[in-house]
């Protein structure tokens, strides 16, 4: 058996898949897979830096997809959870998957398989939440702008939904936590990073980045939100179960007024 090696990749999904490719191809005894800048245990194993290679990544992607469509989305979703140690778990998962005949009969009593599918489900839930909870504000440059702060890195997952739906308006969704955004320019979606002077959440203070009409619509929406509740049926527990408090900050209907 070769000495074990820690693979260092650039943090991108393609980078991770390239690492998997290299590991398989060179029959490396993998100690760990870590993202660049996060390396911890160079002490006990050698490290090898992986250079992201789209074709290699593509081959791993196709290999997984060939086994099972469900598995490929599990792998991608779980990767975006950014959970600690998720890379190594995914590596084991992919190894197991490749050993199966068709990929269909993955054993859900296996702890890795179970864990990956649970992570994927959590990320999936966050994706749906963001599709629902994004609140655009119209800027003076005619861009519908939203800040989000999701638990997981879901921007790549929600891009298609917003592109399909808002095909005739420019929009930008910015992840405050991860400091990048996706911008739709009426033709395609691109990744952007911004130098935000202020984070626009639902505070009462009005920013001059937006038209005054924008604040009118927020007021109307807040009013609407208030008038839909039926007082004799009020149920705060059920309400926060559906709209967890950590999301309130960016919901204009939750603005203190």
């Amino acid at each position: 058996m070769n000495a074990s090696i820690t693979l260092i990749y650039d943090g991108s999904f393609n980078g991770f898949l390239t690492a998997v490719f290299v590991a398989f191809d060179e029959k490396i005894n993998v100690a760990d897979i870590q993202r660049n800048g996060q390396c911890q245990n160079g002490l006990f194993s050698d490290t090898e830096t992986i250079f992201t290679h789209v074709e290699k990544a593509q081959r791993v992607w196709n290999g997984i997809k060939g086994k099972s469509h469900n598995a490929i989305s599990n792998v991608y979703f779980a990767f975006l959870s950014e959970a600690e140690g998720v890379e190594m778990m995914l590596y084991t998962y992919i190894q197991k998957l490749m050993r199966t005949q068709t990929g269909k009969y993955l054993d859900y009593s296996d702890s890795t398989v179970l864990h990956i599918s649970q992570l994927a489900r959590k990320v999936g839930r966050e994706k749906h939440r963001m599709e629902a909870f994004v609140r655009f504000q119209l800027t003076k440059d005619n861009i519908y702008f939203a800040n989000i702060e999701p638990d997981f890195d879901v921007l790549p997952l929600i891009s298609k939904h917003f592109r399909d739906r808002y095909a005739d308006q420019q929009w930008l969704i910015y992840d405050v936590k991860r400091k990048y955004g996706i911008y739709y320019n009426l033709d395609h979606v691109e990744m952007v990073s911004l130098n935000l002077r202020e984070v626009h959440f639902n505070k009462v203070h009005k920013s001059d980045a937006f038209l005054s009409e924008e604040y009118d619509y927020q007021t109307l929406w807040n009013d609407y939100f208030k008038s839909t509740g039926i007082k004799s049926r009020i149920n705060p527990k059920l309400h926060t179960q559906h709209v967890p408090k950590r999301y309130w900050k960016y919901l204009s209907e939750k603005k203190a007024s």
Binding site: A132, T219, S227, H239
Partner: protein, 420 residues
Amino acid sequence: MGFDRIREKLNILADAAKYDVSCASSGSDRTNKTKGLGNASKMGICHSYTEDGRCISLLKILLTNHCIYDCAYCVTRKSNDVQRAAFKIQEVVDLTINFYRRNYIEGLFLSSGIFKNADYTMERLVAVAKKLREEENFNGYIHLKSIPGASDELMYEAGLYADRLSVNIEVPTVSGLKLLAPDKKHEDFTKPMLKVKNEIVRFQTERKIIKSTPKYAPAGQSTQMIVGASGETDKDIMYSATYYYKTYQMKRVYYSGYVPVADDARLPAIGSQVPMLRENRLYQTDWLLRFYGFAVNEILNKEYPNLDMDVDPKLSWALRNLHHFPVDVNTADKRLLARIPGIGMQSVEKIMKARKFRRLNWDHLKKIGVALNRAQYFMVCDSRHWERRDLDAEKIKGMILQTSSGKFRNQYSNQLSLFN
């Protein structure tokens, strides 16, 4: 027109619309092919939740709350002393588009009080939908209320632009309707329903031959009944519901616990409790009829005109029909499995799959997600331990109530905790 005036109108006309419980935005599959605005998500999205925990997915408003009728149960009735307002067609269009572009909503649910007459009102509702589709290139969800008594021509047009159409029958019995809405006729409600149903059927047949047949109300039609306003029994309600499902191919019937809005001797007084538990039991029954293969007269009949409040309708049926049990989960057919209390449709599917590989015991069933505290009295499995005592229904009910959590007994739980 000024912002303040719009604001005032929105407050009045959203407030008057909130008693309509339907908020579904699902079941349509309008896509955004033309690079226009919006699409309808097959599953529907809840963008927020009201403080009573209901999904907000549509901008739900009345076009106007002026009304020539005087239905006792309705806030908009002509004799009620409330502020009146009316939106212009363009105002509704602008609100919808601007809310939609900000990702507040999935679309519009437009209803209205009846001003002048049915057709005059319906015409305006149709005009809003038409404008949204044709001028704004809007592909989001549109639910229009069919105004009782509206003409066939208008109902036809409505279906071309709307995803869903609904007429609320509100009062489940003809006698109740006479009492509470004396100037409305039963046929006024059913006529637009029939037209919509016929058009949907026509569309479905023509679609098979000519692919380009224009869509007609792709999310179907629905209706709503008020519960607890006219002294009706659960049997009255569910028999009506069954009739509407069958005759008009309703996608959904909604049940709405009456929220007292009037001091009227014919109705529960203001401040009376909203019958939320009863509403929940009716939804559970609805579910049993649509997905579990129950016939309505098995659950409600002359002998049992009302649902049990302390246990769900499936358990209640089982307790009255102990001679069907115990069921052997390893051999019973699907229909019978679905009748075991504590086993939901999901568990039924899982059991059918799992028992191909091995005979199932209590452990397996627990992992599958069966609520054993209820199921154990009604089934046997691959184990020597099962309920052998010859318990009577009252005994079993008592033991189950002891072990089940408070949520079924809590009058205020309006969460639709359907059986599992």
